[in-house]
Amino acid sequence: MSMTRPRPRLDDLTRPFWTGGAKGLLLIQHCPSCDGWTHPPLPLCRHCGREDHGFAAVPGTGTVDSFTVNHQPWLPGMEVPFIIARVAIDGAPGVYLTTNIVGCEEADLAAGDRVRVTFEEQGDIHFPLFEKAK
């Protein structure tokens, strides 16, 4: 997908996720009290309600749950096709990301494939995309 990606609005809750890639980190909201993971981010832990949670880096690997090959150019200039996937994130049980699988043809991808994060920089945003793990 070659285009300017819609830019997420950064605030204190969403900034860690969208900018963690500057340091090569995939950051997900994590509760030190119950070890629960909350995504999308909230001002409290969605498992135990604790408010002094933080963000923790996950390994950056995951498993493709399902994916679609998008053929429709929804915006002018959008290059198609490209792969949109739902990826189960290692180390953060219950957290899934909608993302793109890059560097890979449709025919070479299957549900259950292992993938690794790669960040695409656009200004201060670092979009977490995934590529097939070697």
Binding site: M3, Q72, I84, R86
Partner: protein
Amino acid sequence: MTMAGVEAFITGAGQSEVGIRLSRHPLLLTVDAIREAVRDAGLTLDQIDGVFTYPGKMDTPPGFSPVSSIDVIETLGIKARWHYGGGEQPAQLSAIAAAAMAVRSGVCRHAICFRTVYEAAALSRPAEFPQPRGGEVGGALQWLLPFGALSAACWTAIPAARHVQRFGMTREHLAAIAINASRNALLNPQASAITREELTLDRYMAARLIATPFGLYDCDRFTDGSTAFIVSAGDALDEISATPIRIAAMSGSVERYSWDQAEWPAAYAAGPELWQHTDYRTGDVDLVQLYDGFSFLPITWLEGLGFCAKGEGHYFVEGGQRIARDGELPMNTAGGQLGAGRLHGFGFVHESVIQLRGRAGARQVGGKPRLAVATSGGGPMAAALLLARD
């Protein structure tokens, strides 16, 4: 089952002209539908005391919801004791469920429910209906749009593709739903602007892909029109001249309000919940009107409602015989949204009422149907109604 107090009935149904790029003002289309529904019930406007809609007036997406409950109150001089139009409800049919709660609680006696869509007209008149300008994305959409997942087609394709990958669903299975819709739409005069010829498997397969496994004919089409109902209290039926259709059960459960964190679309929560509120069972149902904004969604409803096991919905529709008008479970007999346009949920209830009253003309299902399920929604949104002719 015991049901405290009065029950709720759909006593009137109306629909405006339905088409593509209509010139008639969306408020006038709404008035057309409402006047027909009121007349159908045998009421007059001064007997109406509630107005309910979904999702309330919105400027974006253009034409998605151009008329508010307040517009209707003002335009028709309704003496409303309650009105509501909002999007934070479990999918489109929740507006009808809210009206049912209002009449059952005694707040209203006869309530209007309507849904007006004007997306095709709006798209063709951008000066009047400007597209939203790009800009930063907040809220739930920020987790989807940056990855080119700009449409519900993409979001729905993900669980659909999982059915392909995990359960062996094929595009031929999805085609059976689209072809069934087109056959039924050809017998629905209100669908004449949407479906002009029967969809063949060849044409389905040759159409351009949108987001695998969806091609063009797996997606509903922007449509202009308004659908309206009158929902009445069970102790006010002596004022009604039409055959009342009882809302025997309703459900709108959701497990996780997210397009990608939830494991399954909400049909898998709202479906089983429906049967918690009735003694009827799936075997009692004569016909189903299942939301088909995308062809995969009826499969989630068939599974969620328990007409078959999870992961087997595509086998249920295979070949199309079972869901045909003369099949064991006639489905989307007016053409659904794939065949009759994106009336956004309300078309399914309209057709249920017409079929249960035996007034569907050339597309009437045989055997004097008494019980129908109508649903709306996909992703995290779901609402189901069980409708009975007693």
